[in-house]
Symmetry: C2
Subunit: 375 residues, 2 copies
């Protein structure tokens, strides 16, 4: 099987790493000449929407993506070359926060109160209904906290309106959550669905920093998350891996957004599960049976942001697994991650105690403040 | 770190797969244009002993090997280019069965009775001392059961003598073993040693077919194996991964041979341990701290010989991990392996029950006859 992947970043890289042992070959399409997935296959340095892309992918058996903002017309054109999985419908829903929220609503998946905002008048009306604080977001192309602004008072309206471009926005009510979490599930072409355990996630400045699995929550919350993500996968007749991000609130789980691809919150599945999200995505895309998602003990993932820390200091920590994406350092860029695996919670705590001595104050504080007291 | 590997087969391939996430890059030297490691780095199609090899490796930080029959003069020449680990001494000992047996003897590691055989007269004298049955072996270049002949009666002598070339041979006494086993250990440049659990191994026609870990043996036998392999590593001031193959007999463990490299009997460490033998070999070679060798449950590895079976039928088996080496089919060739991982023995048994329905009669018989009743 030859797989074409739009995007050659770390998600494509980890997909390929998991697919080569299954006898798969990979071609990546990325405008960047130093796209890090190239270590695992052929890199086609091209724009996704251009003709060379289509030509370069003609010998592929399947096409998939490592990011969700692929224009619909590109996906349609690629469909002539090879089956694109997941298909355009899932992308269409995930690319527009308004469509996404309406889909959730239609499926009885709880969402924050929201309203379409296309004019200043819309915004004022939405605030009257939803109240403050609230979050004003662009409908499209938001990621890692970009394309959104928190409105705490009426003074925040005008700057936010200007910053976000003043059209195609959505206002969402503020959610008082105990914690953010995410659930990753995979649906095969035969409709079979497998789920990974719910992860607890910690963001900082809009960027995911930590994920802990299984999330230390009641069994009912875990089953509820599974039920919600399965509903979404079935409705979309989805093929591949999808992550649903959720807020855990007093009123139960509330959906934030979904990503129609492998997801940072489930990177721990490489070291913490029998079959990783990356391999299961490829299995689904290639009509192969889905793999065992059983966790082996517990796992805590930390993202390395900006630049890789010195590896040697970490490799001596029991149960710590290292993932350098081979990317150049750049502020705010995800350049790698580490996953701590342990049989039980006390093993994770021992590992965290060793990690906090090695990381910057900000990461140490996230580890100590956000993650540990909640166990 | 850039690592040069002599040999571009599956061992080099799996080393590179484990090293890329640690930020390492790889160059492989192999005379075969389709060497399967090439999926993970740059392939230098060259003979190991030739000048282009040295030139092609000049930008490497370390050099290591995926096979043990590298001539000493090649290793010496490579030493001028970059540190070669493990070093020439371990290769010298492993390349000659007589030197190897004498090393074991010097270290009080039990060996079968043996004698140097350089003439027909030596052979007759050796048989008088050692008795029959016995095994006549070439001192050098034996692998996968090649270069040896079992002598059951005096009639077997002349054909074996002719087949094996009639010089540089060794006669070894027949060992009545219950089972064959192997222990893999890794020594760092600081002298630290980590061991994997003892594996039970099953050969057929001289080729490894199955490995089960941990070997279901008494704790004393496990500690004895560790003690023996640690003695060997320390004596050789070895850096890297080494496997000691042993016979389990009524009189305890008897050493068969050692391999100064990553080894087929420990392929299960990819899926069954926190840190694989491949990654730990590279960590040792690169002066990095050695990784956690803790097993996660139990593991059973099956080699795919000759050609890969149809993957889809196996991927549905819970806990089964797939490793296609991307090699062309050829009789007797190791083309891939599968590892079954499970929390406990009953999980392994359930997996085996599913596997035997899919494999050829010979493999099914090995699985049922050799492995399972002994649990």
């Amino acid at each position: 099987m030859k797989i074409g992947i739009l995007g050659g970043g770390q998600l494509a890289r980890m997909m390929a790493a998991s697919g080569i042992p299954l006898g798969m070959e990979f071609v990546f399409v990325d405008p960047a000449e130093d796209a890090c997935a190239a270590a695992y296959g052929r890199l086609l340095t091209a724009d996704w929407a251009q003709a060379p892309t289509l030509d370069g992918l003609r010998d592929c058996d399947r096409i998939t993506c490592d990011f969700e903002n692929v224009p619909a017309e590109v996906l349609d054109a690629l469909g002539e070359v090879a089956p694109v999985r997941p298909g355009p419908d899932a992308f269409a829903a995930a690319q527009d926060r308004l469509t996404e929220k309406r889909l959730f609503q239609r499926l009885d998946i709880p969402v924050p109160p929201f309203a379409e905002v296309s004019s200043r008048a819309d915004l004022l009306a939405a605030i009257d209904t939803i109240g403050l604080p609230a979050v004003l977001k662009t409908r499209r192309f938001g990621y890692d906290g970009k394309g959104q602004a928190v409105l705490r008072s009426r003074e925040d309206l005008e700057p936010a309106w200007r910053d976000l471009g003043g059209h195609d926005l959505i206002l969402e009510g503020w959610i008082n959550f105990h914690h953010e979490c995410a659930i990753t599930a995979v649906r095969g072409s035969d409709g079979a669905i497998v789920c990974y355990p719910l992860s607890w996630t910690v963001h900082d400045g809009g960027i995911l920093r930590l994920a802990l699995a299984p999330a230390p929550v009641a069994r009912e919350m875990e089953s509820r998350a599974r039920e919600l993500v399965e509903r979404l996968l079935s409705e979309l007749e989805y093929i591949g891996c999808l992550t649903l991000e959720l807020f855990a609130t007093d009123q139960g789980l509330v959906a934030n957004e979904f990503a129609p691809r492998v997801h940072n919150s489930a990177h721990w599945t490489i070291d913490g599960s029998i079959t990783s999200q990356f391999e299961n995505h490829l299995r689904a895309v290639c009509n192969l049976p889905l793999g065992d998602t059983t966790m082996r003990g517990q796992a805590l993932m930390l993202n390395w942001i900006g630049q890789m820390p010195s590896m040697a200091e970490f490799l001596g920590i029991a149960g710590l697994r290292w993932h350098d994406y081979g990317k150049r350092a750049r502020p705010g860029r995800k350049v790698g991650h580490a996953t701590l695996v342990a049989e039980d919670r006390s093993g994770i705590e021992a590992g965290v105690a060793a990690i906090v001595d090695q990381v910057d104050a900000q990461t140490a504080s996230l580890l100590k403040g956000e993650m540990m007291p909640l166990g």
